[in-house]
Symmetry: C2
Subunit: 224 residues, 2 copies
């Protein structure tokens, strides 16, 4: 499904240069449940942003479903991003003027589902992450962990086949973290969703059969 | 130093009402190192925002240094906030157009220190949290954990006597989390800074002699 071949990513700011990824290679198959771990600043989010088509690599190859991403057009990448990938961002990126419910519905509004159809699904997802009583709150009226859970529900709204979660339990207590992990595991085992989770929490990483360890822009270890 | 007496905080949004704090009482003495733990949405940040003079309680009493906060004027509260309290926010609130170094210097620019004085201290604090090589980056050019560490350095810039940290290690790996915790502990033991830390990480809470547990807007337990 996902194949990185010597992928690099360099950021240039004036005469400053950061080699965030220095030649990263790995393969993730359909239906895998994979944790990405490593120190702060080691390159995990950069990897996930490239996988999720939010960022372009500097050199190397990225094959998604067997086809090189560089070869594809902007329209097709946008279609893949919107229909196929669900992304939980490290800093949530909820729209401040919309309620939790509206934020969750946003990604699929253009798809042509009936309002009652998608409203039902949005409410169900919000309840699944324990946000059933706070659907009309706006982000600034929610706690940090509540915002994180709205971001998770939003990522699942489009029924993605690839779920990318950047530290999805960072703001959650252990009970709520496990509820989120149980939700991800059931999507993986019951619906075959490929799941990639960046995490600093060893208890989350321990529940993933596949673990990729990143260090200073390189893959330090990979049990795959 | 800090005394809450039956403090409540109610949020009203249209005809919706949230009783975030339902009657919270506790006392924190000068020089204590205190962890605040509890489930997501239980009221921890609300407590800290009231302690840090960023929010007003709805009813009850809040005494800071023996004097009721309600009795004090806006100017005096602003002075206390700026000179006496350091706040690490759960969502960082770094200014996007400023570099890490500029963000750290911001709180004390009006104090009348010489530029070389405060620049030295800012660079030293950034190095202490492992951000020495990234001082000229802007927030969007930093990883999540790097942004969190800039927010920590900024909170310490004004040499506060009361440090309030809302989940300061949420985005950090375990090694960096411990470095931050060691920094807080030395401020507490060497400089007598009163430290209050909201955390979901039991390894952080375990290093605090005082632990206050919050549940659904109430104090569930307090070993103080
Ligand atoms: N401005 C607001 N308007 C309405 N409700 C609010 C507001 N701020 C907080 N709340 C509600 O008050 C409750 C407590 O929120 P608080 O941010 O204190 O939780 P918390 O313990 O810090 O949670 P977390 O661990 O997720 O950060 C939550 O139910 C939240 O939805
Ligand atoms: N837009 C950018 N411009 C410049 N440098 C960047 C940019 N984005 C990331 N970096 C740098 O690239 C490196 C990797 O960042 P990345 O966000 O991938 O780390 P991370 O492993 O996700 O860390 P964390 O656990 O703290 O979230 C860091 O040194 C960071 O400062
Ligand atoms: Mg990251
Ligand atoms: Mg909070």
């Amino acid at each position: 499904l996902i194949e990185f071949e010597n992928v690099t990513r360099t950021f240039i700011m004036g005469d400053n240069r950061v080699d965030a990824l220095k030649g990263v290679s790995f393969r993730i198959d359909d239906g895998e449940l994979c944790a990405v771990i490593g120190p702060s600043g080691s390159g995990k989010s950069t990897i996930m942003n490239i996988v999720g088509l939010l960022d372009r690599h500097t050199s190397g190859k990225y094959y998604l479903e067997g086809e090189s991403v560089k070869a594809r057009g902007e329209d097709e990448l946008a279609r893949l991003r919107n229909h196929f990938i669900g992304f939980v961002f490290q800093s949530f990126f909820l729209l401040p003027r919309l309620t939790a419910l509206q934020n969750v519905c946003l990604p699929i509004l253009y798809r042509g589902e009936s309002q009652s159809e998608y409203l039902d699904r949005a409410e169900e997802l919000l309840s699944k992450v324990g946000m059933g009583t706070h659907m009309q709150h706006r982000p600034h009226e929610l706690s940090g962990g509540q915002q994180q859970r709205v971001a998770i529900a939003r990522a699942l709204m489009g029924k993605p086949s690839l779920l990318l979660a950047d530290e999805p339990t960072g703001a959650l207590d252990s009970k709520t973290s496990q509820e989120v992990m149980d939700l991800f595991k059931s999507l993986n085992s019951d619906d075959g969703v490929t799941v990639m989770i960046i995490t600093h929490d060893p208890r989350i990483a321990d529940q993933c059969p596949r673990v990729i360890k990143v260090l200073d822009g390189n893959i330090e270890s990979d049990n795959g």
